[in-house]
Assembly symmetry: C2
Homo-oligomer: 334 residues x 2
DNA sequence: CTGAAAGCGCTTACAG
DNA sequence: CTGAAAGCGCTTACAG
């Protein structure tokens, strides 16, 4: 099987023109059925493969979508974004597209450089998966390409985004704790860190408000520093009966902390998380949490970016995807 | 900033030819330094982006590497291959390449269809990450493209492969158990399932042989069915004092099983794993295991595939990357 | 139904 | 040092 068969090669063998071969292989009008069949058969036999690059250069599309993940979200213990990427990659199939992963290094983010993906016109659109710094958002905004934020958003930015419904998710799971007669409920997370955490915090707060519970500032527990590195969680003087953690991994960290201090879960303290990722089922007891609908987020993200490729003026604004509470064994009824 | 600036646009503005612009931007000989600087400056100002597709069509290279992962290795709880993919994606940077993930569906694997990645000439080489069926190996072999097996190999296939040193890794961790005075040591894994598991089993066996211990067939415990789905692990009549699990996830499953049956780890039973993935540190007690050098595997895989792109006759054969034992808390000295 | 011509954006080989 | 010509593999618009 010779390398690099082109339409011309097929055309020559059959004594027709490459235009005819092109039409036949892409099922266009204007070729007799007989010839069409003959061409397809020969193409198959010769091991012909379509050269996408040639098409790309014609219509200015790469048929690739870029997924940009900031380096700090790609640690060995943070499989969430890779799982999202996996779903995206799977659904790209139905659009005839492929996905290119570009991990954004911290240096690039700080020096505000464009991702290589962009400089080399490798993609027709780009999904930014995971919060980037404010200045870098401007860099992204200046890119001449359809773009979409996934799993975060920025108030000042006009860029479309798709997020899980952090606010109502946290609201509902806090309601669940209150229905189980908890009153001293702490929130675990750095509420200045990302918009997701902030929204989850506010959902938690809304639930407290609705139930006439006061928000004790001591019950907002920090889980990470400014750069996103996890820190030891410091418990307040009075131990809460329940903890709303901003994500499952932090719930996992909290389990450790509580165990070390001699508290049993859920006998002494109830804990809930958010994300329903691998940490939720690997802990003991298994974690009650809010499941993010990764499937739907990936699907919507692709639909949106494809719409924008077709029509650059297409606007979706911020779309929130509802999650659902998964009840496991980490909450006790008081 | 106008969309789609080309070299011609820059050339027109400066009253030079596009050939000169091409030379200037790629730092070729034959343009005065003065003009070169002027061209680069203008390109920057105009927001020019290089069109890789045009280059692709010239030299027949896509500057992409494909990573093919069989669907069954991409479950929510199987982050290992995604981690490997992540490392690959990171190292691709230094070659000026990008990575395209193609998850191979079970239907494609069964119907022996080429991955879409191949049919559309999207990549210059392909890394198959995770064992595929024997018939599908032949399909891969018939692909007219540099290819490499990562984390598995096939004896009949002439395709280069990079694997972690399963044999010696298992050998050494079994030695470690024996040094801790264990004598009744079981192996957990379906030894007909993949070459990795087989090799790990044989390393375990070598250790037994060397220490004059007999291999009791009842001490080979099955962990999965033919299709790779995990099954309940059935313990032998006489309980071993130690278990060599073929991977960390199975060790995790075994922990569950042993706990249910009332055995404590490591007081009653010692357990070791393989891979040092997320399961190793999320279990309690933390798992003593063999760390696979993902970093080095990814690096070698890329080096090899790039060598093959440069020279299709390049042959590496099977390369084994040494792992190392990570001692944690799941083994007790008898 | 079939095909010659032109063009997508770049590079290479050659001429001046 | 600079550029006209040809070509990579395909498609589109048009002519026959």
């Amino acid at each position: 099987m010779k390398s690099n068969i082109t339409m011309k090669d097929i055309a020559n063998k059959l004594g027709v023109s490459s235009v005819t071969v092109s039409k036949a292989l892409s099922n266009k009008e204007g070729v007799s059925d007989e010839l069409k069949t003959k061409i397809k058969k020969l193409a198959e036999d010769m091991g012909y493969r379509y050269n996408t690059a040639a098409k790309s250069i014609k219509d200015g599309l790469s048929y690739n979508i870029g997924v940009l993940i900031p380096e700090r979200f790609t640690g060995i213990n943070q499989s969430f974004y890779m799982t999202v990427y996996q779903h995206i990659s799977l659904h790209l199939e139905q659009y005839g597209y492929f996905g290119i992963l570009n991990i954004l290094s911290s240096e690039e983010e700080e020096s505000l450089s464009f991702p290589r993906l962009y400089n080399e016109k490798k993609v027709d659109g780009i999904i930014i998966l995971g919060q980037v710094s404010k200045p870098y958002i401007e860099t992204i905004q200046s890119m001449d390409l359809p773009k979409l934020f996934l799993d975060f958003y920025d108030e000042h930015s006009a860029i479309d985004s798709i997020v899980s419904d952090n606010f109502y998710g946290a609201y509902e799971i806090t309601n669940y704790l209150i229905r189980n007669n908890h009153k001293k409920i702490a929130f675990v997370g750095n509420i200045y860190s990302t918009s997701s955490i902030q929204d989850r915090f506010l959902g938690y707060y809304k639930s407290l408000l609705e139930h006439g519970l006061t928000l004790d500032p001591q019950f907002i527990l920090n889980d990470r520093d400014k750069r996103g590195t996890y820190i030891d969680i410091v418990l307040p003087k009075e131990t809460p009966t329940a903890f709303v953690c901003n994500c499952d991994q932090v719930a996992y960290n909290l389990y450790d902390r509580l165990n070390t201090l001699g508290y049993r879960i859920p006998e002494d303290c109830s804990v809930v998380g958010f994300d329903n990722d691998i940490y939720a089922t690997l802990t003991s007891p298994k974690l009650t949490t809010v499941a993010v609908d990764i499937e739907k987020m990936a699907q919507l993200a692709l639909k949106t970016i494809m719409d924008k490729i077709d029509n650059p003026d297409h606007k979706n604004g911020r779309i929130q995807v509802q999650g659902k509470i998964i009840i496991r064994d980490s909450v006790r009824t008081l």
